[in-house]
């Protein structure tokens, strides 16, 4: 996955992501694609969660999955999560859960609960930073005011890093793939460097949802695992999701 939060010169915040999934779960030689990635595309839906006929939050989701991987609480915050691989992975949390230690959150349920119940960027950030989890994750959270953007790197028990937007000091965007920002990504899976190159070329004065879509359409940020691209703009409550293909030649991940 690749998630980006960017702030324009007027302090308006944009949030976008590529949802990549299906690695090593079967390759379709005939169509030159990952089987699960292809199977997931017809399951992608845009959901509007309502109470009393009014929108509480909206999300881009897979049908059948009650947790959230991308969502917007209109006017308040936007949230995406990226997978974080670790030896201290979710299977340990699952075993703990099975054996009765049930004080942690399943990742998708936490993001769902945050989108459904948190009423401010700060509250959402506090929950995503401090809640105990069953599996490590990256939470990418943006608010509706200048500087309200962060990448929260989570282990199962703690926030290892919180990387905040700070446009006045030059950090006008934050970008997360599937690697800790203080570590070099795998040489065969470096989507961070090309994505940053494209963001730097875009420049802050040109940031917009179409500009982020351009970045997320550039290979290898767009790759054979990419199921969809979601674009969000919090102040207008806008969320758009598009299914993607990556014609050859295209990186398998």
């Amino acid at each position: 996955c690749t998630s980006i939060i960017a702030e324009d010169k007027a302090g308006k915040l944009y949030h976008a992501r590529n949802l990549d999934f299906g690695l090593f779960l079967g390759w379709d030689i005939k169509n030159s694609s990952w089987i699960v990635t292809q199977i997931l595309k017809p399951l992608m839906v845009s959901l509007d969660f309502q109470r009393n006929n009014k929108t509480v939050f909206r999300s881009a989701n897979l049908a059948g999955y009650v947790g959230m991987v991308s969502g917007i609480r209109p006017g308040i915050f936007t949230l995406t999560m990226n997978e974080r691989f670790s030896i201290d992975g979710g299977y340990i949390g699952v075993f703990e859960w099975i054996f009765g230690k049930r004080d942690g959150w399943w990742m998708g349920f936490l993001t769902r609960s945050v989108l459904e119940n948190s009423t401010s960027y700060e509250e959402a950030k506090d929950r995503l930073t401090n809640a105990r989890l069953l599996a490590p994750a990256y939470f990418i959270l943006a608010g509706n005011q200048s500087g309200q953007g962060s990448v929260i790197t989570r282990s199962r028990t703690a926030a290892l890093d919180v990387w905040n937007l700070n446009a006045s000091f030059g950090t006008w965007y934050v970008l997360e793939t599937n690697y800790d920002r203080w570590k070099v990504p795998l040489a065969v899976d470096d989507r961070r460097t090309p994505a940053m190159k494209c963001m730097n070329r875009t420049m802050q004065q040109n940031v917009s949802l179409p500009a982020l879509y351009n970045v997320l359409s550039t290979k290898p940020i767009l790759n054979k695992l990419t199921v969809s691209t979601t674009l969000m703009e919090v102040s207008e409550g806008r969320i758009e999701t598009y299914l993607r293909d990556c014609p050859d030649p295209c990186s398998p991940w």
Binding site: L25, V36, I39, L40, K41, P42, L43, M44, V45, S46, L47, D48, Q50, R51, N52, A60, A63, G64, V66, G67, E83, R84, F85, S86, G89, G90, Y91, G93, I98, W106, M107, F109, R112, E116, L134, A135, P136, A187, P194, K197, C198, R201, T202, P210, Y213, N214, S217, T218, K219, P220, N223, T241, Y242, R244, D245, C246, P247, P249, C250, S251
Partner: protein
Amino acid sequence: LAKDPYGEDCRYQQYPPTGATFRGSVPDYIINLDLPPRERWVQLAHEKKDELKTIVEHIKKVMIVFFPSGKLLHLLESKMAWLGSTLPYPFNEEIEGIAHAAEVGLGDIVVFNVFYEIFTV
């Protein structure tokens, strides 16, 4: 370092989405949080039941490749429904409602919902 063989120059003017990298738009659904949890996803799960069955069957095929005896799959199928019952409210009841509406085994929908936790290794 060698140049990324799949890399390309930054793309421009890709929006509005069109062309070979655009597969299509996604359908919209309303989830009514005023309904009991079991009823919230009924319409969506019913309309997507064929697609859900396809992914569930594929995950089973993958597991058979790694564990050909089928013992793990059998164990998982029998235990996942129980795991579903331990999940917190309202998610446990929502998952039950999806399994019922999609006519898919409860354990299969539970696996789909906890796949992230298992996959992060």
